[in-house]
């Protein structure tokens, strides 16, 4: 463990952290622009050219707002809630491979913070503790609507976590590895998992929507029934943290979908263009971000197209709709794997 290695990892972590925050910031603008497009209007266009300064203005507004705390709230937990949500949202990015390797001065630099051999399980763990921030915040507000929102969020996340894990199990079976880097490497040369795992992909995509609490699964903050859901009592930057972590989750989920099913940083004719190793790596990272942007757009597209589920429909869909498909996918995958691949 030399000093250069440690320095590089620290630099990479900081870079990814800043990148996630900036992307989340501009996702808010993109979301409003996309919403405008779908509703045949312009969207925000006052701050800066094309409204490019809108996220800055929004952030400034959130910082300037009054810091409010309900009188009977549990003070420590009230602050812990949004902080935990933000922390957990940023944790997953550690195991996602953001690109191949860069060769600088005879040294190889991997564009991934931690290539642990349990990468997929790490993602499961982070996803499963994502509930805490919302539950703690909702409970600590000491408000019925917030508690209802928190309970809904928790039960929804627990329900969809199972189907999500099952759909990844099928991928682990075919790739024979729990390391995300290994899974991405095996998809090189357009051998993307989406072609061999179409059912798993659809299940995973739907679960990703539910896990990020996005429409049509945004029951926890359903404003017609629950006012603001778990963040009813939050204001200022604490509310900002909750809203912001939703966009970070969206970004990370898109990155996960791209890595697991769409080959990560792989792009067509990767090694036939006669480019240098570093150039291929950089283009690969660009390709990964193009895929992430597409899925980010898909998230917004669906939010402004589909209406919200009813709560019992949501639960029934999760347990009786997605779970059987996910289990059938695992069994089918095992069957085909034994039959055709040795």
């Amino acid at each position: 463990m030399d000093i250069q290695f440690v320095l590089y990892k620290i630099l990479l972590s900081v870079a990814i952290l800043l990148l996630s925050l900036v992307i989340a910031m501009y996702s808010t603008l993109a979301e409003r622009k996309v919403a405008g497009f779908f509703q045949d209007r312009l969207g925000p266009n006052r701050a800066g050219i094309f409204g490019l300064l809108q996220p800055v203005a929004d952030g400034l507004k959130l910082f300037m707002k009054e810091e409010f705390m309900p009188a009977k709230a549990d003070k420590v937990l009230y602050i812990l809630g949004p902080s935990l949500t933000m922390l957990v949202a940023l944790l997953t990015s550690a195991v996602i491979p953001w690109g191949g390797t860069l060769q600088i001065g005879g040294n190889e630099f991997v564009l991934q913070v931690a290539d642990v051999n349990i990468g997929v399980l790490y993602v499961f763990a982070v996803v499963s503790i994502g509930v805490y921030g919302i539950m703690i915040g909702g409970w600590a507000s000491n408000n019925k609507y917030a508690l209802m929102g928190a309970v809904r969020a928790a039960s929804q996340m627990i329900s969809y976590e199972l189907a999500m894990s099952m759909s990844i199990v099928a991928i682990v079976m075919t790739s024979g590895s729990l390391s995300l880097n290994e899974i991405v490497t095996q998809q090189a040369g357009m051998n993307w998992n989406v072609f061999t795992q179409p059912i798993g992909f659809v299940v995973f995509l739907i679960c990703a929507f539910a896990e990020t609490n996005r429409a049509p699964f945004d029951l926890p903050e359903c404003e017609t029934e629950l006012i603001g859901g778990y963040h009813t009592e939050y204001s200022s930057m604490k509310l900002g943290f909750y809203l912001f972590s939703e966009y970070i989750n969206m970004f990370i989920s898109s990155a996960m979908i791209a890595s697991l099913y769409f080959g990560g940083y792989d792009f067509p004719f990767m090694n036939d263009l006669g480019l240098s190793h570093n150039m291929v790596t950089i283009l690969g990272t660009v390709a990964l971000f193009a895929k992430i942007s597409f899925f980010g757009f898909l998230f917004m597209w669906i939010r402004w197209t589909l209406p919200r589920f009813r709560y019992d429909q949501l639960m029934r869909f999760g347990w009786k709709g997605l779970m059987p498909w996910a289990i059938a996918n695992v069994i089918l995958t095992g069957f085909f794997h034994l039959l055709f691949k040795k």
Binding site: D74, L77, V116, N117, I118, L121, Y122, F124, A125, V127, S128, I129, V131, Y132, M135, I136, W139, L147, A150, V151, A154, S155, I158, E161, L178
Partner: protein
């Protein structure tokens, strides 16, 4: 050197949060302290190079069981103090039961041969590949049997939930 400091840090946090589980007035705080204890234990597993165990520990305990605990405690609304007054008999029984468990633990620890863990970097058994191979070859039978046990527990839970309908 660094891992020694980490060990003492994790142990201190684990002990303090474990004691706080007992001392905290609000049930929710107790549940959250218990979750913190589980996280520090997962940290210990990582120090022993058992990454798989650490992650599964977090998924199962922190991610599933404690969330359900939190869920139940929130809905029960145990906040009102004095609602659950225990009778003298209850306290007496609890003290005896707890004391007997304590005795058993001490008895086990006394006869226990304190084995020193070898260099964690060299023991590779905690890695998922080796663990899986051992589990599916040497211990296949107990592994499959325990899965049946879990399945029957799940079916039992569903049956218990259903009886209210009639």
């Amino acid at each position: 050197m660094f891992s020694t400091y980490l060990f003492f840090f994790l142990s201190t946090v684990a002990l303090i949060s474990a004691v706080m589980v007992l001392l905290s007035k609000k049930p929710i705080h107790g549940v959250l302290y218990l979750t913190l204890t589980f996280f520090t234990l997962a940290g210990h597993y990582i120090l022993l190079n058992a990454q798989f165990l650490a992650v599964v520990h977090i998924i199962v305990y922190a991610g599933a069981i404690m969330v359900l605990f939190l869920f139940t405690v929130m809905l029960l609304n145990l906040n009102i103090e004095g609602e659950f007054q225990k009778s003298t008999l209850m306290k007496f029984v609890a003290a005896i039961a707890g004391g007997m468990l304590f005795l058993v633990l001490i008895g086990t620890l006394k006869s226990f041969d304190v084995a020193t863990v070898g260099n964690p970097e060299l023991t590779q058994i905690g890695l998922v590949k080796n663990l899986g191979k051992t589990l599916y070859s040497e211990y296949l039978m107990p592994f499959e049997l325990s899965s049946i046990l879990f399945l029957s527990a799940m079916v039992g839970a569903v049956m218990l939930g259903k009886t209210t309908k009639k």
